[in-house]
Symmetry: C2
Subunit: 251 residues, 2 copies
DNA sequence: CGGAGAGTTGACGACTGTCAAATCGTGTGG
DNA sequence: CCACACGATTTGACAGTCGTCAACTCTCCG
């Protein structure tokens, strides 16, 4: 009731046909008839940077897609240790059909707009319009692959490699969103605080800071301000990340 | 061509209706008509303990379900560091519809029987019989949850907590398979070598061995032989694992 | 100007990895 | 039936990475 209602930049109703995530979201495969069905059911919600969208364990009666902004999924242990387990970018899906309560904290790290459906109607839609279920399966399989890549990072990479990997991942996503290539000189803005990076990487905030400084000192990256990063040679960064040069994917 | 053909215990054709994984596998929701369709397409393959089923990057022209035995999915870095990213038990699904090549090494850690489908026919089945796609989505979402739980383990737990978690996970699965409860005194056999455990947990084999010894010394577990484990008080084990007492789930 | 939040840096120590050797268990050849 | 070999596991000694605690800088804002 508090801030949730007083959200930023109220999103006016957008026609699915001109939606920015139309071709990647859960609705990507829908035909015109199916879109009409979604159109009459969907609604938009906005959240401010820093705002928690749902708490782990809380009842969650909607599902939805990130339209703009970034959100994170995080798990917390009893003693407060935290591990990020999902990084949600535009077109990513939030929530699980068939589940009552949220399994993770979902937090908006930037201002965020979501295209939502109440859970029950969405479950009905999934039964009626196979294209939604098919696309959701595809997206879930992609997320599973990303999670497994992430497990390799968490289990086996050094702090330096973790940082290099994260920068590479964000740069690749950013490039693919802007339809640019990620080769040679690449520039990115980190959408995460040092703390959020540490939660992503299974490190402490201090180690993150130190390794960023080290990569900077070694010329792998250059930094302007706190968040703006210039990668003079993307291949070098990949090498530092310990990945074989070919693709890397992500949520 | 070599050992692959000379597999153990040739599985004779089993009717889906009396298949041991009938109620949990990708076919769980199928009705009689649909089963008939699967029945005429499926075939069985057997593998010996230690045998690699597919190598990462290789062409993979089938998908399938584990009928009996255990397999692992593993990623390898260029310098040889390895991280397990999936532990496949009976009823778990192997392979990804719509993908040409395997993304991970798949290895049988015990003698294994799989119920297979060539990929193309399976993709057709998925389009025709919605229950298969629906069930696969459900299973994939479960796997994603398990992967995220695993990420918390890899990123934030201590070596001791990792070992306790692994034992708890295996004990829970084992209990659920045998329809027993996992409370009070529990007994399990570890189906993994110390090395496989270390690949699961993101540790070295030596650390695994040391922490198992420590848990034994502290009375959290008792050991007979190398693999047979007695847990006098399951709640105590859970406490050592750092989990909140309620559920824990897994692939 | 003071304060709060984000980020950086330093000193130190603990946990876990590395290297090496010893032990246990099982299967094979003599 | 026993000795030996090999793989799996355990244990020890030591080193390095990363976490902890703490001080300090920078920027933004009231």
């Amino acid at each position: 009731m508090q801030k949730t209602t007083a959200a930023p930049a109220k999103f006016t109703h957008v026609q699915c046909g001109s939606c920015p995530i139309r071709h990647r979201a859960v609705c990507a495969r829908c035909d015109t008839d199916e879109l009409e069905r979604l159109e009459e059911t969907k609604y938009y919600r906005s959240f401010e940077a820093g705002q928690t969208i749902v708490w782990s364990g809380d009842r969650m009666d909607f599902v939805g897609s990130v339209v703009s902004g970034i959100a994170t999924l995080t798990q917390t242990m009893e003693d407060g240790r935290r591990q990020m387990v999902g990084l949600l970018l535009p077109s990513d899906f939030v929530g699980r059909p068939g589940r009552e309560t949220a399994a993770y904290d979902v937090v908006a790290t930037t201002d965020l707009v979501m295209c939502c459906f109440r859970k029950k109607p969405f479950e009905t839609i999934m039964l009626d319009t196979p294209h939604v279920g098919q696309r959701l399966l595809e997206m879930t399989l992609d997320e599973l692959d990303a999670a497994r890549e992430w497990m390799l990072l968490l289990g086996r990479k050094t702090a330096r490699e973790k940082i290099a990997s994260l920068i590479a991942i964000i740069a690749r996503r950013d490039a693919s969103l802007k339809l640019q290539s990620s080769e040679g000189r690449v520039v990115v803005d980190l959408p995460l605080t040092r703390e959020a990076m540490s939660e992503y990487l299974g490190l402490t905030l201090e180690t993150v800071s130190r390794q960023i400084s080290a990569l900077k000192r070694d010329g792998v990256i250059q930094i302007e301000g706190k968040r703006h990063i210039i990668i003079p040679d993307f291949d070098l960064l990949i090498e530092e990340a310990g990945d074989d040069s070919d693709g890397g994917f992500l949520v």
